[in-house]
Amino acid sequence: MTLLEQKGEASAHLPVEHHQGPTGYYRWLSSTDHKVIGKNYMYTSLVFMLIAGLMAMLIRTQLASPNSTFVSQQTYNELFTIHGSMMLYLFAGPFAFGGFANYLIPLQIGAPDMAFPRLNALSYWLYLTGGITMLLGFFTASGAAAFGWVGYAPLSSSTNSPGAGPDLWIVSIALVGFSGIFTGVNLVTTIFYLRAPGMTMFRMPIFTWNMLVTGLLILIAFPVLTAALIMLYADRHFGTHVYSVKGGGSPVLWQNLFWFFGHPEVYILALPFFGMVSEIFPVFSKKPIFGYKGLVFATLAIAGLSTGVWAHHMFTTGTVLLPFFSALSLLIAVPTGIKIFTWIGTMWGGQLDFKAPLTWAVGFIVAFTMGGITGVFLASPPIDFATHDTYFVVAHFHQVLFGTTIFAGFAGFFFWFPKLTGRMYREKLAKLQFWLVFIGFNLTFLPQYLLGLRGMPRRIAVYATTDHFTFLNRLSTAGAYLTAIGFVVFLVNMWVSWRSPIKAPDNPWDGHALEWATSSPPPSHNFHKVPPIRSNRPTWDMNHPEHADGRVMTAAELSREVLD
């Protein structure tokens, strides 16, 4: 602890991560400080993202020409399975919930740390172990899991998918699931218990709200997946018949359990990023968030609805009640729309300062709105019959997933980068990366809508010349390469800011929430003093008393608050 304390103090002048000896790294690894763990999560998940992205490049290369033999069919199936699994389980969730939430929630609510710091460290190690376990699948004799990220029974049974690769996949997701559950417990307890005086629920920043709701969703969804995985493992190894027809089990049961987890999961992945942009739009518009309460209720509504729509992934099974699941799925458009309009409303009448975070956040709205609207198509069972398991779906979910995790994710990353590291990133490179990724992304996924409508199923390694899929697939592949160049620019950006740092001020953006009231990076106990909390943007109130949201205090009151 003492060393960490010193580190906190020292870093007010110079970020010290690179000036520590091996003991420093050891301390770093064994730390229970939420900021250290948060950063570990962030960097680890970004590495997983790049690896999964490289797999996507292989996928796209294979699909660039008909009858391609760039990779074998078996390898192809492994590639998209692990690409999807890594992106969702190892990147998107941990990046937001392990990384940003861990780092920011205690700061935003004025707490010294998470409720259970050691549990927090355990979460990270479970996550890292799980991640490595998943990748190990590629080194087994039978290869990695090759049944898609959804692992449908009975394809995932021991007869149809023998070998250690699938087992590693199961174990890996169970580990990452436990990690998520523990982080969920930790965050929810932290938010319930450790808010600074004055930080009422309705003064919490939207980011914190979204993380709270995400935490609750994790606690609802992941345990069901864990149960399903345990039964899958038992079926594979102990001869049970939960998912096999023989013996009286039910293959569709897996689908129900999986999607009961899987649909909330997609909102578990989306809500944190909604929270991030909800912090960014106000700051770069110099306005408060528009319709705060509406946003909170929309978030709660999304969470509530998202536990009741899982069977929209199963419309074509013929085993589910179509109108019910269709109606609830369509309804999710309403609270999600509220969010979109709230963000536009926040910018309305503002002074928009197009720094990289805002640019990326706008990219998020564009991508997400398109993907969300095509989600509404899929929520209509007849249209889903025509498009299910085609590239239309692939395009839909990449637009929403990429929109949230990459566009909103990088918006958040650049926004909080100065807070995290005490340094500034390079603005020009961040913008260049944005345009490369934005154009590349649209070029990758817009043609896929057409491919889907023209009948290209997903998860196929080869297609024929006569299918006339070639041209659109080439466009898509070109887009993916362009995106990759964008990420190379990102790596350059990080390299440059590492080698020749520019010191960041404590509050470079005139931020609103509490994390901007402490130093960059914050001291190990987070705050020397917490400013008075009278509204959902205490730092703004402190810096702009004449435009404060909260009641303006007398000088005496103020000094009393600040002193204690």
Partner: protein, 199 residues
């Protein structure tokens, strides 16, 4: 967790109470919410399979000793009371008594597990006989694991309560284990109902 969350009221010999639940208690409650979902997943599987059945339920050839396990069910339920008693005693600074009640609880938990082991070895079907058998072993097995973890947690509690001094942290720990124990207990009642009684 030793965060100063407790405020002792007035005189030291009055029972130790909190003006709000301990942080560990809140965390435990939240975590038990996720445990509830975990067992809900298992119950959902059980009922799906039951709904898919072609014949009677449980399938022919499945015989269970409803009475014997019923008795051990009552023992497990009673162990919830002994655990609560331990909490009560600790709140009144009767640590020795609290420890004794924890030991009683542990014995009852172990007795329950013992019965389960005997049952597993005696039943005429296995996990691969049919889907009912699968669910029987998976559900009782995972529940048994929870009972075992509870007993292990109590063993750690015994170590923590070994000293003379009473700190709010140890009481919070005791309370949290008791929440968990009640939860495991309630889950068993539901399990007993669907696995042994439901036809």
């Amino acid at each position: 967790m030793t965060q100063a969350v407790a405020q002792r009221v007035a005189k030291p010999r009055e029972p130790l109470r909190f003006n709000k639940p301990s942080m560990l208690g809140v965390g435990t409650m939240v975590w038990l919410g996720s445990e509830l979902m975990f067992f809900s997943g298992l119950f959902a599987a059980y009922f799906t399979i039951r709904a898919n059945r072609t014949g009677s339920w449980p399938p022919p050839g499945i015989k269970l000793d409803v009475l014997q396990t019923g008795i051990f069910t009552i023992i497990l339920v009673m162990s919830s009371f002994t655990m609560q008693k331990a909490v009560f005693e600790a709140e009144h600074f009767r640590k020795r008594s609290a420890r004794a009640w924890i030991v009683v609880t542990m014995i009852m938990g172990l007795a329950f597990l013992g019965n389960q082991a005997i049952e597993w070895s005696r039943v005429t079907f296995s996990q691969s006989t049919n889907a009912y058998g699968s669910m029987f072993f998976i559900m009782t097995g995972l529940h048994g694991l929870h009972v075992l973890l509870g007993v292990v947690a109590m063993a750690f509690l015994m170590l923590r309560l070994a000293g003379k001094k009473t700190d709010p942290g140890e009481l919070a720990a005791l309370q949290s284990v008791s929440y968990y124990w009640h939860f495991v207990d309630v889950v068993w009642i539901a399990l007993y109902g669907v696995l042994f009684l439901l036809h």
